[in-house]
């Protein structure tokens, strides 16, 4: 077990290093890095100052070591458009992104649990059919378009909810739902299929044979066992949300990390993009690491097989 966790830690560090190196290579290999790092239309002077600041006169391996050294100290440089340290920008914007992710997860769970359970219990009935339709639509609908359609309906036509921005509680509804929608599809399928497996099992047959009411059989014996894969999936989903949040935040002008990533692409603000990728990448890898370790703790059959 210790060996497995140690190995996974090593692998996570390898992933982090890989992302950092990729960013480094991209920033140096394409054209003049001083150009990449300075704002568009800045003069020759600005470029030279930036070149000196980045240490571009030094040999490449020295630049690389310095870059990694700064990363280890969580120094991600400064935004070229407003001079604010990148770390500060990210820390300020992180809460908005995380709240949105949690709300999306909540939406996904609230919709998928009942639908998946009912779909499995009342197999091949309209409920099951509805669950399948939702699952397919969730998988196939582009999230940015869903968001825009929801804005048209709920904000423009009916005027019920704000179209964009972060304010009171009701401003969370549309972006949260949009981000959660795609994940919900996966969850409905997962709940439904793991419920079907469990309903076939001996202990459910046993519970029924004892004459327990169906509600108890489903709610207590079946559902609790079917939830395990759903829980693991939920934790992985937080990682998937980061991918989605880039798009969804853009649709709803949500002041989170995803928005700053897209804005900095438009402004050619490389230090900020670099920071977002490194932070999101690290978070992604960290979640995967925690899930794997959790798995190993819960299920001792999993072990590192080498």
């Amino acid at each position: 077990m210790v060996k497995y966790i140690g190995f996974r830690l090593f692998q996570a560090l390898l992933g982090l290093w890989f992302i950092a190196t990729l960013v480094f290579i991209l920033s140096r290999s394409i054209g003049d890095p001083a150009e990449v790092f300075t704002a568009r239309n800045s003069g020759v002077d600005a470029r030279e100052i930036m070149a000196a600041k980045l240490g571009l006169d030094r040999p490449l391996h020295e630049q690389y070591l310095k870059f990694i050294g700064q990363l280890v100290r969580l120094d991600l440089g400064e935004s070229v458009s407003n001079g604010i340290p990148v770390t500060q920008i990210l820390v300020e914007r992180m809460p908005a992104t995380f709240t949105l992710g949690l709300i999306a997860l909540l939406f996904a769970l609230v919709f998928s649990l009942p639908l998946g359970v009912l779909g499995a219990v009342y197999r091949d009935t309209p409920v099951d059919w509805l669950a399948k339709v939702m699952a397919f639509l969730g998988q196939s609908m582009p999230p940015f378009w869903l968001g825009i359609m929801l804005i048209i309906l709920f904000a423009v036509v009916w005027g019920l909810l704000p179209p964009a921005g972060k304010g009171e509680w009701h401003s969370y509804v549309l972006p949260g739902f949009t981000l959660g929608w795609g994940v919900m599809a996966g969850m409905v399928r997962l709940v439904r299929s793991s419920m079907l497996d469990v309903l076939d099992s001996d202990y459910v047959a046993m519970a029924r044979a004892k004459g327990l009411p169906e509600v108890v059989v489903i709610g207590k014996h079946a559902l609790r066992n079917a939830l395990l894969p759903v829980l693991t999936y939920s934790s992985l989903v937080l990682g998937a949300f980061m991918n989605g949040s880039v798009v969804v935040e853009q649709v709803f002008a949500w002041p989170g990390i995803g928005t700053s990533a897209v804005q900095s692409v438009v402004r050619r603000d490389f230090p900020v993009i670099q920071g977002v990728v490194i932070v999101f990448g690290s978070f992604f890898i960290l979640i995967n690491l925690l899930v794997d370790i959790m798995y190993a703790v819960i299920d001792p059959r999993i072990k590192y097989t080498q």
């Binding site: 692998q11 991209l26 940015f144 990533a261 490389f270 080498q306």
Partner: protein, 299 residues
Amino acid sequence: MANTSMQIVSPTTLWAVRVRSVLGGLRRAPKIPSLVLLVFMIFAAFGQWIAPYSPVAVDMAASFSPPVWHEEGSADHLLGTDKLGRDILSRLIRGARVSLSLSLFVIGLGGGVGVVLGLISGYSGGKVDAVMQRGIEVILAMPTILVALVFVFAVGRSFESVILILSPFLAARFARIVRGETLSVRERDFVAIAKVIGTPTWMILLKHILPNVFNTIIVLATLEVGHLILLESSLSFLGVGVPPPQPAWGLMVADGREFLTSAYWITLFPGLCILAAVLSLNLFGDWLRDTLDPRRRQL
């Protein structure tokens, strides 16, 4: 699954049986999804002859005309026009080519590499397998859209750069699943026999293992095309996809965002196209999986 009884049949017969069963099975394919896919494929292949206008023809006099069923709409532009007066229907038809061809290129490049890596990784086992699997896990643990955002930002926006950055992610997914299949196929008797009679490794992979994982590859490819169309349109929407004025569906949705209140049709129809294409691919892929490969219900 017929696989168990097919084990002893020679690969050539296996192919014949498979081709026949696919052709016979296609008659039972889900009607509507197959039809939708066929229409999109025709649009992608012959779009320039079908579309009533050029997708980039600007006609400021006709800007923001609504679809034909509105009072102010005209039959000149069935689905209306955008802010530059470009015909939405023509752009949708031509947009099919961008989405489909890009996805097929990625499937070809990324999927091809993934299959080869998966075969090698699963067949050789040991250190080769271990190193490859760790590499694949690293790639799968990266947020696709963000990495693509940075890559396209750095390299420049083009059809090729989108293909280049999406391919490794696809290769990793293919490699992981093909490896899993290969692990079980390589334990079968016919592989052992081929080894005993001295068949070279590449021949075993090509003639004995590949045909047996082929169903999985086909199913995976169908489902992944849908996934790729969604990814590509997301990138287009964010402004790092295929560059304008090429009519990509995701880009069209983004174009219409400013005019949500006045001209919903600019946004609505491209989104419906993406939805229809991806939904059909998923339904078709699901059917294909149930037909060809019933063991992999979770794919």
